[in-house]
Amino acid sequence: MANEDVIRQELAAKFPFMADTIVIKRERRIFAEVPADRFMQVFSHAATSMGFTHLCTMTGLDEGENLAFVYHLARPDGTLLNLKLAVPKTAPVIKTVTHLFPGGIMYEREVVDILGVRVEGLPPGKRYPLPDNWPAGQYPLRKDWKPDMLDAVQFTKGEMNNG
């Protein structure tokens, strides 16, 4: 696992605050957790200087107190770097990565809709994937959300944008 170790060492040397969280789960699979305030610095470094040129997708997670987001970055040699950040549910705000990966726009719109996070810098546009008349404040992928919660609320009218 020479390749994976080189990546771990580079990340640990450059960003000592996250050194303990870097885990090599198997060949070509590296997971790491990054504090929210340093996330963009680490993400940009991986994308621009370490060869992780492809954003596969991002996964949103409901972890109780926090909303967590895992960015899956791939390198041409098949190595996948999974960078995770967590933000409190009381103020769920993350920053956009579309300046580095313009193709990631749909992934960000998706977490806005299904988990109710605000993505700073996400250009306005049509929402995805929920319907236009979906009621505000209903985030279906949060753990406490149940489909019958829709019975009690009014569906809105007209087209809604997000971002």
């Binding site: 789960k25 040129t53 997708t57 899956h72 313009p102 749909m106 992934y107 995805y128 929920l130 279906p140």
Partner: protein
């Protein structure tokens, strides 16, 4: 000239699935395109959280009507990784065999759709007829044309005899011969070349920047293929080429797909020759220990990725699916810019957006006095010749005339 914005979709004859495109035109020229997706959102990820792993696998197999094996394999690989299961090599080979058969059926289907979108319906009829060969292989091996239900946690559900695998090779020989003809059509037929060249251009830089995957990216010389870069199943044992092209347009995407068909035949021959003996499944626990894994898979349309998080129960904590079409759609606006309105259908079709194709029909009513009759290929052909003869169209004499013209 004043700009006009026209809506295409969500329901529109030119689209095979619901998506809404809003296209701004200056005359015939496309200035801008905006899209609205999500009309087929079924809440599958949420539904998986309320189902056991094996139920979730069957549900995920139904995410897509064409890449059904892709999604179930991608998911099950992640689950097996979390559970630390060693899937037997024979099961890995069977998964790979189905993966390549699925790619053949998907690419031949695409070739037909592409032909149809440019008014070349003969190509549609030919390639869909030939696609039946691979559909029959899939049906005879798994019992189904789509949604094969091959996977289970820890392996596959069916094993095959040497004779069954030998039958597969017979089909592959026919398909290879037909594909050679399609390559000839794609490289020599001026109508096809002229219609597709320069349409839906996507530069290499844009293809990388927008994160395109699969044949869409490879036609813009993005040399990425999960099968080679991040090998799974039995791909590390197989030798194959990753087909790329530098045309950067719909024509390039056609060449990549027909080229990939030839590689798939090569791989299937290797699989049948090398498949190891042994069990096809290992015992899997009902409860999966806590953990997380990311699984990547090269579906016919490109990289499919599943993220699975387990919490120690028999139900997943989180399942995330990113199908290849979502990665490719942002590039469509760039492809369409400065193209003609008439190029919209073929350009959208060229990323091969996924739509369901689960209909099957082998029982034909009528045609003879028996109520329900199963027609063989030959009797169906004779039936259709007879049907036209009754209406005064004689293909027999037409064929003779064509042959005479050929000789001249």
């Amino acid at each position: 000239m004043a700009k006009v914005t026209i809506p295409i979709g969500p329901q529109h004859p030119a689209l095979k699935e619901p998506e809404s495109f809003s296209i701004t035109l200056s005359g015939e020229r496309i200035v801008e395109m905006d899209m609205r997706l999500g009309y087929n959102h079924r809440g599958v990820e949420k539904a998986c959280e309320e189902r056991s792993y094996i139920q979730a696998m069957y549900l995920l197999e139904r995410v897509c009507g064409i890449c059904s094996h892709s999604h179930s394999t991608c998911f099950i690989q992640a689950v097996e990784e979390i559970a630390g299961l060693q899937t037997p090599p024979r099961a890995q080979y069977i998964r790979t065999l189905f993966a390549e058969l699925e790619r053949i059926h998907s690419h031949l289907l695409w070739l037909g759709v592409a032909g149809h979108e440019i008014g070349f319906d003969t190509l549609l009829m030919y390639s869909w007829r030939d696609r039946e060969v691979v559909m029959d292989i899939l049906a005879s091996l798994s019992g189904n044309r789509v949604n094969y239900g091959m996977n289970t946690i820890g392996g596959v559900r069916r094993d095959f005899t040497k004779e069954q695998l030998a039958e597969v090779l017979k089909g592959v020989d026919i398909l290879e011969e037909r594909t050679k003809y399609y390559i000839e059509v794609a490289t020599e037929e001026p109508t096809l070349i002229n219609r597709l060249s320069g349409v839906g251009s996507l530069s290499h830089k844009d293809a990388v920047r927008l994160g395109t995957v699969g044949p869409t990216g490879r036609a813009s010389n993005v040399d990425r293929d999960v099968r080679r870069d991040d090998p799974y199943a039995a791909y590390k044992d197989l030798s194959f080429k990753v087909i790329t092209d530098t045309h950067n347009d719909v024509y390039g995407r056609t060449l990549v797909r027909v080229g990939e068909l030839m590689e798939s035949y090569k791989m299937i021959r290797q699989i049948v020759a090398q498949i190891p003996d042994g069990p096809v499944t290992v015992k899997a626990p009902r409860k999966i220990p806590a953990g997380e894994a990311v699984s990547r898979y090269e579906a016919p349309r490109g990289e499919d990725i599943h993220y699975v998080k387990a919490n120690g129960t028999d139900k997943p904590e989180r399942v995330k699916v990113r199908a290849p079409t979502l990665a490719n759609l942002p590039s469509v606006s760039t492809m369409l810019k400065d193209n003609n309105l008439a190029d919209v259908p073929i350009t959208i079709a060229a990323i091969d957006p996924c739509f369901s194709c689960t209909d099957r029909m082998i029982r034909v009513k009528g045609g003879s006095k028996k109520k329900n009759e199963v027609l063989s290929w030959e009797s169906l052909r004779l039936f259709s010749i007879g049907w036209y003869l009754e209406r005064g169209i004689d293909f027999g004499s037409l064929n003779k005339t064509m042959k005479k013209l050929d000789r001249k």
